[in-house]
């Protein structure tokens, strides 16, 4: 049994003249939370649809659980498409039971599980209502329940958090973490960098149909460290200027010292001791995901990428 949940090798998909995904390689180990990050139109949804065999690649191979995403393998996945696919005229509970039964749950079992989930997501009182009577966010929660109801090995969620208020986003995030604790693999796409940063163990950054970076988020951040330092202390910043550091940014009471000052960490610390400064914090800064993204994708596509991300926030 392979350790990989998903493997893409040299995958290319074109729509007419537009290349949606270009020569893409990706490996997703089992039992992790993976974020697929990129601005709108960068090819995230196309990739997910290929993993679910809704689209077939023009070139390259897509493997799910070690083989072609056939019917048996797909049924081990809970899939939440970007467009909210629901039977609008069906009642909430009936729809969930239908989906559960379709995936092999007995009717009773589907009913009781759906009931529990509805309670957890505070939708119990809506269970007899038609889906079209629910708000967009509630519809999305119902659909999310449909995705996890049959307890699949893997969750593939296309923009699961968009359109949800912060409280519901947190509820969903908690569930995703819980599923991970239970050994599930979770792949989700988002254009919200901060959220991916909170949730993911691995990330895959996409820009303009190409992979920018992928890998373990912590390792990625360590590797991407610039060497900039954040210092918090009592008193004025005179000792820093005496050290020859002029280019200082003040962020939330902390002085950020960019690497451009060419001053070693050791000499800063030594100066603080020498001058008798009371240090509260001394930290080698890790770059945010956004910074990493801009650093790498920016070279080829900063303008549209940032515009798209900024606009989507």
């Amino acid at each position: 049994m392979t350790e990989l949940a998903v493997r893409l090798a040299g995958v290319t998909k074109k729509f007419g003249t537009h290349t949606a995904v270009s020569n893409f390689d990706l490996e997703i180990p089992r039992g992790t939370i993976v974020g697929l990050l990129g601005p709108n139109g960068s090819g995230k949804t196309t990739m997910i649809r290929m993993i679910m065999a809704i689209l077939l690649p023009d070139r390259g191979t897509v493997e799910l659980f070690g083989g072609f995403p056939d019917f048996a393998r797909r049924s081990r996945v809970g899939y939440l498409p970007e467009e909210r696919g629901v039977y609008e005229k069906m009642k909430v509970l009936e729809q969930l039971v239908f989906l559960g039964e379709l995936r092999g749950l007995a009717r009773r079992e589907a009913q009781s599980r759906a009931g529990q989930w509805l309670e957890r997501l505070e939708l119990s009182e809506w269970s007899g209502k038609k889906i079209q009577e629910l708000s967009k966010g509630m519809q999305q929660k119902v659909q999310f329940i449909g995705t996890v109801l049959h307890d699949p090995d893997m969750l593939i969620l296309d923009e699961p958090f968009s359109g949800l208020d912060p409280i519901n986003q947190e509820v969903l995030e908690a569930i995703v973490r819980e599923e991970r604790e239970r050994g599930k693999t979770i792949l989700f796409s988002t254009h919200l960098m901060e959220q991916a940063e909170r949730l993911c163990e691995r990330v895959c950054l996409i820009s303009r149909s190409h992979k920018v970076l992928d890998g373990d988020l912590k390792k990625l951040k360590r590797r991407e460290r610039s060497g900039a330092v954040a210092v918090e202390f009592q008193g004025d910043a005179g000792w820093l200027t005496r050290l020859g550091i002029h280019d200082i940014e003040v962020v939330d009471d902390a002085h950020h010292i960019p690497v451009t000052n060419r001053v070693g960490h050791d000499s800063i610390l030594a100066a603080a001791v020498r001058e008798g400064v009371t240090l509260r914090r001394f930290e080698v800064l890790e770059p945010t995901l956004r910074e990493i993204f801009v650093r790498h994708a920016g070279e080829q596509s900063e303008e549209p990428a940032m515009a798209a991300m900024g606009g989507a926030r």
Binding site: M52, F71, V77, Y79, G85, K89, L99, E101, L102
Partner: protein
């Protein structure tokens, strides 16, 4: 199979529970039966309650005879001579002692013109009776003065065409009844088949299109194969159709068994057997069912394919045109040859499987084609169904996951090949 059942049950329940279904299936026939029953009932009742009439006869010749005939039909009649003035009768009407009266004078004898005076205009039933009896009485009077009055009367009342077949006669009157029944059933059945295939086909199309448009199908298809999904869907809509037809047939049967005798009895005619003998037998109904099932699957699969290749309602409107033509053409042809005979070559056209429900069923019901032709049409339809379902299933499979503009014919061929 369980999955097919689950999809079918959902499709069926979601449709049967809609207001539209309940309205069109139950309310409509109930309303129609009710309205027909009510109007018949009211007509008969009002006719019964107002039966005191008078005849004022200025000729003194036919008044008694007219009154006698009306009395035999249940009216309370009174004949008055010219000595009682019309003012007196008018007064009686105003005081509700009398419903109305007929005025007969010389013009009635020569031209059949007479008057009815009353508060209300006479209903069509009553008007007919009056006209028939008064004119007949006047005519009788003239005829009785003639030597060959009887033959003149016979000619007036219309001749009769006797058909003498050069083929050996089977069983006379029964055969004639069967023939008429067959034609009527055939025509009604053809219309029903045409109408239901169009209607339920459109339901299948809508169902496929809706699932595709709101992307539910992407979720569902990860758990069920397209074939099963399509089969469940078609079966679900089909069972809804059978439910609807069942209810319609049942209410029609109730109407025929209770409604018709009621009306007939009230009108004191003796035509009950005449009406009932024209009802179709179980064999013909079974044949109708067979054509319905085969025809429905044939057209449902085509409509499903159309739904799968479109992305919007407007597109579907256009794309379903060829399929609809396959239904409309035989219907028009059938209307042109209602009796199912006359154009022998049409019998062969009726063998074309897509035309068979609308064209071959009426021929079979009317007994206008030999049995082997009916059998071959069923076999051909079954074969066409297998082929059509195969192609449609492949188009469906690719189409439901395709977004964007409608495929060209060449792309469609590629879908069928690659699916």
């Amino acid at each position: 199979m369980r999955q097919v059942w689950i999809v079918m049950r959902r499709e069926y329940l979601e449709r049967v529970k809609t207001k539209g279904f309940i309205l069109s299936t139950i309310a409509l026939p109930v309303l129609m039966v009710g309205l027909i029953g009510l109007s018949a009932f009211l007509g008969v009742q009002s006719e019964r309650s107002q039966r005191e009439l008078a005849v004022i006869d200025y000729t003194g010749l036919i008044g008694e005879e007219v009154a006698g005939r009306l009395a035999a039909f249940g009216y309370e009649m009174e004949v008055v001579g010219a000595d009682v003035g019309q003012e007196e009768l008018d007064r009686q009407i105003m005081e509700d002692e009398l419903e109305g009266y007929l005025v007969i004078d010389d013009l009635t004898l020569t031209e059949g013109v007479f008057a009815y005076r009353g508060k209300d205009r006479p209903g069509s039933l009553r008007r007919n009776l009056f006209e028939r009896f008064v004119v007949q009485t006047a005519l009788d009077r003239h005829l009785s003065a003639l030597e060959d009055g009887a033959s003149v009367r016979a000619l007036i009342e219309g001749g009769q065409l006797d058909f003498e077949s050069v083929v050996e006669e089977t069983d006379g009157e029964d055969a004639e009844v069967n023939r008429i029944t067959g034609i009527v059933t055939g025509f009604g059945g053809a219309f029903l088949l045409y109408f239901t295939m169009l209607l339920y086909g459109a339901y299948v199309l809508r169902s496929v299109l809706d699932e595709k448009r709101n992307r539910v199908v992407e979720v569902v298809i990860s758990s069920i194969s397209p074939w099963r999904l399509l089969l469940g869907k078609v079966l679900g809509v089909g069972s809804m159709g059978l439910t609807q037809l069942g209810i319609w047939f049942a209410s029609a049967a109730v109407l025929a068994m209770f409604g018709v005798p009621f009306v007939v009895a009230q009108l004191q005619a003796t035509g009950l057997e005449d009406v009932l003998q024209f009802l179709p037998g179980p064999g013909v109904i079974a044949l109708l069912g067979t054509y319905f099932v085969l025809g429905y699957f044939l057209y449902a699969s085509m409509f499903a394919a159309v739904g799968a290749m479109c992305s919007s309602e407007e597109e579907a409107q256009q794309a379903q045109f060829p399929v609809m033509m396959l239904l409309i053409v035989p219907f028009v042809l059938q209307m042109a040859t209602i009796e199912g005979s006359g154009f022998a070559w049409m019998d062969w056209v009726a063998l074309f499987p897509y035309f068979s429900p609308v064209m071959m069923f009426p021929r079979a019901a009317a007994g206008a084609v030999p049995w082997w032709m009916v059998a071959s049409s069923l076999v051909l339809m079954a074969l066409a169904l297998v082929g059509t379902a195969w192609v449609a299933g492949r188009i469906y499979r690719v189409g439901i996951l395709m977004q964007g503009k409608r495929p060209t014919l060449r792309e469609l061929v590629r879908w069928v090949k690659t699916a």
